[in-house]
Amino acid sequence: MRKKLLRAGAALLGAASLALPFAGHAATTSAFSTGDLIRGETVNTVYYYSPDGRRYVFPNEKTYFTWYADFSGVKMIPDNLLGAIPLGTSNVTYRPGVKMVKITTDPKVYAVDQGGVLRWVKTEQLAETLFGLNWKQKIEDVPDAFFVNYKVGTALETSADYNAANVMTLTPNIATDKQFDETLVTITIGSVSNGFVPTSTTVKKGKTVTWTNRDIVPHTVTGSAFDSGTLQPGQSYTRTFSATGSFDYACGIHPVMQGTINVVN
């Protein structure tokens, strides 16, 4: 019995997060930007690279497909860079308005609101009004262990309390769903060998870029027009790019660490 259980445990490791099979040998890149989907070379898990400089986990494939139709936009990045990016402070939740969810061990059916808030759909009539005649096909089971990713909000009493199409339109991407400030971009300063992560990134004019030193030794962010001074581990440096162009920078202490910010309109 014990042996069988352990096998189940091992299989669980593979299936518990969103694993993406990449058949082709896509080229790796160290250039990616906020809002991109990223994965490493060896492990095929896909993450959402968010404005707070963290990578957010899709707990399962169903969650992924509420946001994306396919895996065409996923960028493969070197394993060491992926490892340098911290995991998100929460997991990706269902896109609001796309599906209704329930857990296996509780009969309540919930609509998803912005920020992973679950709102109990109290009656079948209400479910039909909100999600159409085939509402039953729009209910998905959320595994118990992912239920903690959601918050239970107020129940829906009438159809005026929720509009699936509107709430979906108002949450076009995961950053909006999590209420991240999309004018921010965060770059991780990893170890000397990992360098700046992402090494090259593209930001819109007027966005604010923050570099955070997550290494255990001091670094600097030094370009021709800006210099952070010495950043101790844990410290950050912030600069707003108000002109377009390509800005190269490096660490003044470890010149091998180099990066580029491309500012576009």
Partner: protein, 468 residues
């Protein structure tokens, strides 16, 4: 690109397969529980069930499944999910697949980075690497990052393991425990009992309170009734019952009464009462601004409610004398009301704002008043050229004011001190700085009307950041 179909759905894997089952009538906090499905849960003191995200998590706490109690699906469904169980401190080392860092488990679900292989060896022996489990990425958020372990002295395996004898010890979140609910109620001579809890120990006006009761009796439970503020909100013909009640927006009560009543088949009744105090204190996350605290009869008064960026706003209401005069719909952080006030001179209007977030919490602003007087306060606005500057930069500040009697003087204040005074009503502006040091600059405008009444508006903040 073809997608490889998932061989096994995550659903069938998440949750543990219980090896042994036994039937049990009542649950006691600390029990392991399952229903007809395979998943096993930990039943905690707060009456909620906790999920084991992986079998490995379970095995850091229990050697086998011998003590799992089985309940009906309905009984299990009535228990809310409280969260996920985490690894027991001191037992295993963990990592995530995409990051080479190895962590030890600390108290309070902390992950503590083992900085060197040497430290790992000293703590977990030469075969430490075999004791490292991979935590699937989605469960990393169940942990918090704690202090690093730089030397073996930073981490005492045995003491930490012994300090967490049960999963309950790791459930640090001090659940907003409703008034004393003696959880197990096996009164010695009684033939049954009732457990009752509310979702919020303290409520604000407009909150939704969830009442949950479960009862048992040797003769069986005929029905459970839930009451809030004296009115029946739910009747259930089962052993568990959940109902929701909305706390009245207006009223004079300082607390409300939540009551659960269970009637057994043999007509025994069990009752439990929880008094829920009404929280009327103001929240720092919602702010009320009154542009002109004194106006003349018939002039337009205005009130603005701002919600903090951390609040997921569902709706905002502005109340005048406890009557909602304006409601702003979903997602609007700033709600503005303005209307002519026709009360006689001396009338005082009381205003406050109430912000409701998407999970039903409410944030009330402090009360402010608008008085109808014979002379109105000047209306002052401050405009700054930039709200964020680098050290060494200057910033333009312009103050404009208007008043029915005319303006005699406008001042510009920085951190409370007057830095420029202009006579007359025309806009007063100046170039301030250059500002040499990093920090925040607070600018205000002050205007005085011809009758001598002056007004200062709220702070306008300019942040100074380092350019280099």
């Amino acid at each position: 690109m073809p997608l490889r179909p998932f061989l096994l759905s995550a659903l069938s894997l998440l949750g543990l397969l219980a090896a042994a089952t036994s039937s049990a009538a009542t649950l006691t906090p600390g029990d392991l529980v399952k229903a007809s499905g395979p998943s096993v849960y930990y039943y905690a003191e707060n009456g909620k069930r906790y999920v084991f995200p992986t079998e490995k998590t379970y095995l850091t706490w229990y050697a086998d499944f011998s003590s799992v109690k089985t309940v009906t699906d309905a009984e299990l469904g009535a228990l809310m999910i409280g969260g996920n169980a985490t690894y027991r401190p001191g037992v295993k080392l963990v990592k995530i697949t995409t990051d080479p860092k190895v962590y030890a488990i600390g108290p309070g679900n902390q992950l503590r980075w083992i900085k060197t292989e040497q430290v790992a060896k000293e703590l977990y022996g030469a075969d430490w690497a075999t004791q490292v489990d991979d935590i699937p990425d989605p469960f990393f958020i169940n942990y918090m990052l704690g202090a690093e372990v730089s030397s073996a002295g930073d981490y005492d395996r045995t003491a930490l393991r012994d300090a967490a004898p049960t999963i309950q010890a790791t459930l640090t979140a001090p659940a907003p425990a409703p008034a004393p609910v003696p959880t197990p109620t096996p009164a010695p001579t009684s033939t049954g009992g009732i457990q009752f809890s509310v979702s919020k120990a303290m409520v604000r006006a407009g909150d939704v309170e969830t009442l949950t009761a479960s009862a048992s009796s040797t003769s069986g439970i005929a029905k459970i009734e839930l009451y809030f503020d004296g009115s029946l909100i739910q009747t259930c013909n089962s052993t568990t019952c959940t109902g929701e009640a909305t706390v009245p927006i207006s009223g004079t009560k300082s607390s409300y009464e939540a009551r659960a009543k269970a009637i057994a088949v043999n007509t025994d009744t069990f009752e439990k009462l929880i008094t829920v105090p009404l929280d009327t204190s103001a929240s720092a996350l919602a702010r009320l601004t009154i542009e002109r605290p004194i106006i003349r009869q018939g002039q337009v008064g205005s009130a603005i409610v701002d919600a903090d960026a951390s609040v997921a706003v569902l709706r905002t209401d502005i109340y005048r004398d406890s009557v909602s005069v304006k409601a702003c719909a979903s997602g609007i952080r700033q709600c503005r009301w303005s209307d002519p006030l026709t009360g006689a001179v001396g009338t005082v209007y009381d205003f406050y704002g109430l912000v409701t977030d998407t999970i039903g919490r409410t944030y009330q602003t402090p009360h402010k008043t608008i008085t109808v007087g014979t002379n109105d306060t000047p209306f002052v606005t401050v405009a700054v050229g930039k709200s964020s500057i680098y050290t060494g930069e200057t910033v333009d500040v312009t103050v404009m004011a208007s008043d029915d009697d005319g303006i005699t003087m406008i001042d510009i204040l920085k951190d409370g001190a007057v830095i420029k005074t202009c006579q007359g009503a025309s806009p007063c502006s100046m170039v301030t700085g250059p500002w040499p040091s990093v920090g925040a600059l607070h600018f205000n405008g002050r205007a005085t009307d011809t009758l001598g009444l002056s007004a200062t508006n709220d702070d306008t903040v300019v942040t100074v950041t380092s350019a280099y």
